[in-house]
Symmetry: C2
Subunit: 411 residues, 2 copies
């Protein structure tokens, strides 16, 4: 007997990451935290394994009057948030474009709206072969599917050739394409597109769009990790200025990582549209989508972010805390990279961010084997994901040798 | 030039309620709060026009450790919330059924999941003619539509005959029906289905489902206002026990009103399934939908509700605050009902809750005319909505005469 529609029958959620994380916790209880490397968690943890929460954020949030947390935010988000989230997104690198922001529950909500409003049911969205698995879930839940292109070329740089081909194939098939680029500090590899790569992409979009004014190219840049990608992370943004009318850059902004607001579900979908008309259309469609999906967002979280970006002292304190934690993460990643180099462990090209990936065909087997060494990782289709965001520098330095040894033994 | 898909072109959000509310605020600035009756707001306000926020809730919430707010909740919600929200929903009136809860952003998210998982794209959902407008938006956003039945019969009670016909028509057409009943304390009329009416509905479902085992009847009870509907509000719940396998009762639970958590977006979709299999199927589909839509919910808000329902002192304090505010609301509504009776103003049958409706064909005209008397209301298709939740008892007593006079003048 089935009550849900055929399309909505799903397997019960035996989240494999959760299962491995539970094993790691159990092992920590048995032998102590020092001896276990738990690299399963996708959030920034301090060296003692506690979630990092920014005082600069929670001091503001918890001091809001109750009614600023309790009240409804209004469908597209409160006005000060819609204004200030644009600054938080672009900082001093705002493209010359018509910019609108609509609040969403984290970056996930932004991806959902891009899929629902800019692709037709049945369309395929375009994502790299290395990708955050929920992009697929979001497409599926909204009756779309996905196709992939190889993220890297043989030099370990962005595979422009494959990307162009995939875009053109989809445009010919669908007349429109939604392409999601999770950059800088891509999950799960840590890759950041370089400025020259961005220029190539934008030139290609411009040329293609001008040759085919009937086509629609929608680029969603998922910047979830941007505040952990160093001082140059926003250098590509001004390039998204002066585009043809039929190319629309969108941004999935998330306050989860950069403001440690994961559980507050605070984010936005932001357009940098070539015309006012397209920006207005964006705001109307995404506001309607809010109303028809989750109604409105976390008011207090919006208020806190708006307050931080409206007050120089609050902002400086928050940016300092971001920077300090970026440096912590950078030191851990560098330790891993150096140690990997020393033992000859091949990695997917890492620039910045929460995750580092080890390409291999047998990631599940490798992950299982590493558990015997008290190293807990996440097995992906294309390789193994290690999370410097959750592991101390000392352990980051130890891990590559363990992985290399296990890989060699499996050969 | 259009970038969104044809289906997603929406009018810019000139929210009519917001526009009237803004006029009311302007008028309050001009002539003072005493002279203006602002009945546009759908949240509980104290007599001075401030949002009511429960200390019993915000004392718990704001005293949570930062990481309990900051961390992710897990896709279906944190375990203690999934357990305790069942108590908050049913209290001592739990049906004998297989109960599962999945966290959603407010009641809206629960409605969205019911629509997405229990109706096919293109299907019509069934709602009363008097209804909360966003049900339509949710259906539309998810590529469904809606049809209505008259909520009231000529006696001002539930129109069982029309309901049965509408259900059967949809079952014949679609093989399944999702019917949303917003009760007790229906928005916008304040009507609560009586226990005998519930019995009739359940008998009808049982008979129909047994005669047609191939049909699927899904009943979503939207209980957004249940904690402002008096001590008997949950008496219907145990009736939803022992149903045929092809009848599935779902509940849209919201912490917005009962815990003044509007802006925290805390709610759940809860099933009271006739079999374990159907409850498991429910949890798997709704968890997948979470992942593919907004990922997860407000962790701190879940934690606070779970903490309140795990601690007798916290719970008693919270229930006392609910009760005190229920009594405030009840006194306001009684004042309005008495005054309406005195002046001979006809109302849609009101039992309890935030809103009272005055049936009329020219609500827009009436609302405009009432603004001249400094009375601000919401014009609906079927009548005028007055909001005792937002208006002091003294003003509730004054309003009916103003409405009656304006109605008579428009005749």
């Amino acid at each position: 007997m089935r009550m849900v529609i055929e399309d909505a029958v799903r397997e019960a959620g035996n989240d494999p990451i959760f299962a491995v994380a539970a094993k790691a916790d159990k092992r920590i209880e048995e032998v102590g935290r020092d001896k276990v490397i738990n690299s399963t968690i996708g959030a920034l943890m301090d060296d003692d394994g506690n979630l990092v929460t920014f005082d600069s954020v929670y001091d503001v949030y918890k001091n809001l009057p109750d009614d600023q947390i309790s009240n409804y935010a209004g469908i597209p988000g409160i006005a000060p948030f819609r204004e200030k989230v644009v600054d938080a997104c672009f900082r001093d690198k705002k493209p010359e474009a018509y910019i609108e922001a609509v609040a969403t529950p984290g970056g996930t909500g932004a991806v959902r709206h891009a899929v629902a409003n800019y692709t037709n049911p049945g369309d395929k969205i375009l994502i790299p072969d290395w990708h955050w698995a929920p992009y697929q879930t979001i497409a599926q839940e909204n009756r779309r599917s996905h196709t992939t292109f190889p993220l890297f070329n043989e030099k370990g740089a962005f595979n422009m050739e494959a990307y162009e081909k995939a875009i053109l194939d989809l445009l010919k098939e669908q007349g429109r394409v939604l392409t999601i680029l999770n950059t800088p500090a891509h999950n799960p590899t840590g890759y950041s597109l370089t400025v020259p790569e961005w220029k190539e992409i934008i030139d290609f979009f411009t040329k293609t769009a001008k040759e085919h004014p009937e086509w629609r190219i929608i680029l969603l840049v998922d910047i979830a990790y941007i505040d952990f990608a160093g001082p140059d992370a926003r250098d590509f943004m001004p390039l998204l200025s002066g585009l043809p009318e039929n190319v629309l850059p969108l941004f999935a902004f998330s306050a989860s990582k950069g403001y440690t607001m994961y559980g507050l579900r605070n984010g936005a979908i932001i357009c940098a549209a070539p015309t006012q008309e397209i920006a207005d259309e964006f705001a109307a469609s995404c506001s309607f989508s809010n109303r028809g999906t989750w109604s409105n967002g976390s008011r207090g979280a919006m208020q806190a972010l708006a307050d931080i970006w409206s007050d120089e002292d609050k902002l400086n304190r928050s940016l300092d805390e971001q920077k300090e934690n970026y440096e912590l993460l950078r030191a851990r990643a560098d330790a891993f990279l150096e140690a990997a180099d020393e033992v000859g462990l091949d990695l997917a090209t890492y620039s910045d961010g929460f995750f580092i990936s080890i390409p291999c065909d047998n990631a599940k087997e490798l992950a299982d084997k590493l558990m015997e060494e008290d190293l807990y990782t996440v097995a992906l289709k294309k390789g193994l994901r290690f999370a410097p965001c959750a592991v101390s520098e000392e352990k980051c330095r130890r891990a590559p040798a363990l992985i290399k040894k296990a890989l060699d033994e499996l050969k």
